[in-house]
């Protein structure tokens, strides 16, 4: 079984700017993959090259085994891209837009599927409306529908939830998850790291055009050692032994960084020894944001 996406040693420059500096990556079929990185890291460039919107200076990219340049017709039939920019054609209605997009892929009699995605993306009321009349969130849904209209096995979402309300975000993830469970490979870029943490089974982090971390989400989370302890104390003071562990304070609580769970016990012992009462205690686990910050600092 070929990989859904194979990327080998892809380089891309825009003038003097190095956008991608030798990216290699394999994404197996059926994976929910996250592509993370700060602005300008090269995520969108990589997606554009995969989709044929840009061309690599060197390297090789395949979608479901098809080279994106020499076998572009096969490759493009198998990939659906939801672009980051909110683009639309002001001449057409939602349904016309979807029918036309379907026609570009040579699909006729695709109305049943078009109806289904219209319904799943909650666009039924707007199907006859001109694209200009839609709100930003609605336009975003149409972009998702356009990317799915040819039933591509590989779906790429480039920051699909930027500026989108909570309801749509949740509805969208529900739908995308279902597509993933039905066998579609999903690649997601997002700035909402909690989304990536919840959805992606594997993650690549990009910085300045190179991959600086690539692992399962679980392993990445494990990388960040230690736990954090948020404490509200009465009286509000720390024993001298714990002062070095304090990394911050919020309102009336203090934040301690510990190397492991085992240290919690000694912290409590130190407090007890000085008759300081614990009024509130919260154990904070490392999340993807911590991992992201750490990885970006290291490179």
């Amino acid at each position: 079984m070929p990989f859904a996406i194979e990327i080998k040693q892809v380089h891309k420059r825009f003038g003097s700017l190095r956008a991608l500096g030798g990216i290699s990556l394999e994404i197996p079929q059926g994976e929910f993959f996250g592509l993370l990185g700060p602005n300008g890291a090269g995520k969108t460039t990589l997606i554009s090259i995969l989709a044929g919107l840009a061309r690599a200076d060197s390297g090789e990219l395949r979608v479901m085994g098809y080279d994106v340049v020499s076998q572009y017709r096969h490759a493009r039939r198998r990939i659906g891209v939801v672009p980051q920019e909110l683009v639309f054609d002001p001449f057409f209605t939602v349904r016309e837009t979807l029918r036309i997009q379907s026609g570009y892929f040579g699909l006729r009699d695709n109305d049943a599927w078009i109806d289904e995605i219209i319904e799943r993306l909650d666009l039924t009321d707007k199907a006859g409306a001109n694209m200009r009349q839609l709100s930003g969130g609605m336009k975003r849904r149409v972009l998702v529908a356009q990317a799915l209209v040819h039933r591509p096995p590989v779906i790429i979402l480039d920051e699909p939830t930027a500026g989108v309300d909570v309801e749509l975000r949740q509805g969208l993830w529900h739908f995308v998850r279902e597509l993933n469970q039905a066998g579609h490979t999903v690649v997601l870029t997002t700035h909402y790291l909690e989304e990536a943490e919840a959805l992606c089974s594997r993650i690549a982090m990009l910085k300045q055009g190179v991959i600086v971390a690539l692992d399962t989400t679980r392993n990445l989370l494990r990388q960040v050692a230690g736990v954090r302890l948020r404490l509200r104390l009465a009286p509000d003071r720390l024993p001298a032994a714990l002062a070095t562990k304090m990394i911050g304070a919020e309102d009336d609580s203090r934040l301690l960084a510990l190397d492991s769970y085992a240290q919690i016990e000694s912290v409590l012992a130190d407090l007890r020894a000085e008759s300081i009462q614990v009024q509130e205690l919260e154990v904070l686990q490392a999340d993807l944001e911590d991992v992201f910050v750490q990885v970006m600092r290291r490179h």
């Binding site: 825009f14 554009s48 989709a51 044929g52 919107l53 840009a54 061309r55 572009y72 017709r73 096969h74 493009r76 039939r77 891209v81 672009p83 920019e85 683009v87 639309f88 054609d89 002001p90 001449f91 057409f92 016309e96 036309i100 997009q101 026609g103 570009y104 892929f105 040579g106 699909l107 006729r108 356009q146």
Partner: protein
């Protein structure tokens, strides 16, 4: 080639939805030219023996409108799509460069021909226009529309801004079509300007098209069709090459 058919349909639907602006307006402009020029010159100018000036003017105006509107169609569609970003809906598809090229050119030619038919229909009220060689007229209409569709693709791909397309239209297309013998026979010009006119490709389109109506022209329609055909091939090669290379489209 259902992908090609869809893009053609989309391009046709695009101008049809705003046909007041894309068809009715140029027909009205041509009608105004006819009313003004025929009023001013009818009694003073005779170009071909036995052909009234107003009759002489009508095919020229029809061809001029055809050329300008065919160019406007593909160039404005492309520049709008590029600037608004929705060109990606076409670029993301498996459509081949030839399919994209053919769809834009054909839609442009259709708009040009529809406008020309509108001009002929409306102006025929004012003067009789014979159609002695309809196949020649049709051939030049289709070739002219194709050339301008292809030129519109080249301009639309090359331009980064609306005003660059507008400059192309206002500083190249409009002057060259005006000076292509629409309002006069180039044979009435001094020798220098006659030669200069022969360097203008639009002259051959207008002259050949007019031959289809009156069976008379400044130069042989065979020469004209050769020049026009050569232009179509050259511009098509350029347009296709730009699409193939992804120039200013696939970065």
């Amino acid at each position: 080639m259902p992908g090609f058919r869809t893009l053609l349909y989309k391009e046709l639907l695009r101008f049809w939805k705003v046909s007041f602006q894309t068809i009715a307006a140029p027909v009205l402009s041509a009608l105004l030219y006819l009313l003004i020029f025929s009023h001013a010159l009818e009694s003073r100018v005779q170009v071909f023996p036995g052909v009234a000036y107003t009759s002489f003017l009508i095919p020229g105006l029809a061809m001029m409108s055809l050329l300008q509107n065919a160019f406007a169609n593909s160039s404005s569609s492309l520049i709008q799509s590029k600037i608004t970003g929705n060109i990606i809906f076409v670029l993301l598809t498996p459509l081949a460069p030839l399919e994209i090229f053919a769809a834009y050119v054909l839609a442009a030619a259709v708009r040009g021909v529809v406008v020309a038919l509108g001009v002929l229909l409306v102006t025929s009220v004012f003067a009789p226009v014979p159609l002695q060689q309809p196949l020649w007229a049709l051939a030049f209409a289709v070739l002219g529309g194709g050339i301008m569709g292809a030129l519109g693709i080249v301009a639309g791909i090359w331009a980064d801004k609306f005003d660059q397309v507008a400059a192309f239209q206002n500083f190249i297309i409009v002057p060259l079509t005006f000076l292509a013998g629409v309002f006069y026979s180039v044979q009435s010009l001094p020798a220098f300007w006659q030669h200069a006119s022969h360097l203008n490709p639009f002259f051959y389109m207008v002259d050949g098209f007019r031959f289809g109506f009156f069976g008379a022209a400044d130069i042989s329609p065979v020469v004209s069709v050769t020049v026009v055909g050569g232009f179509l091939i050259a511009l098509s090669a350029l347009g296709l090459w730009l699409l193939q290379a992804g120039y200013k489209l696939r970065h």
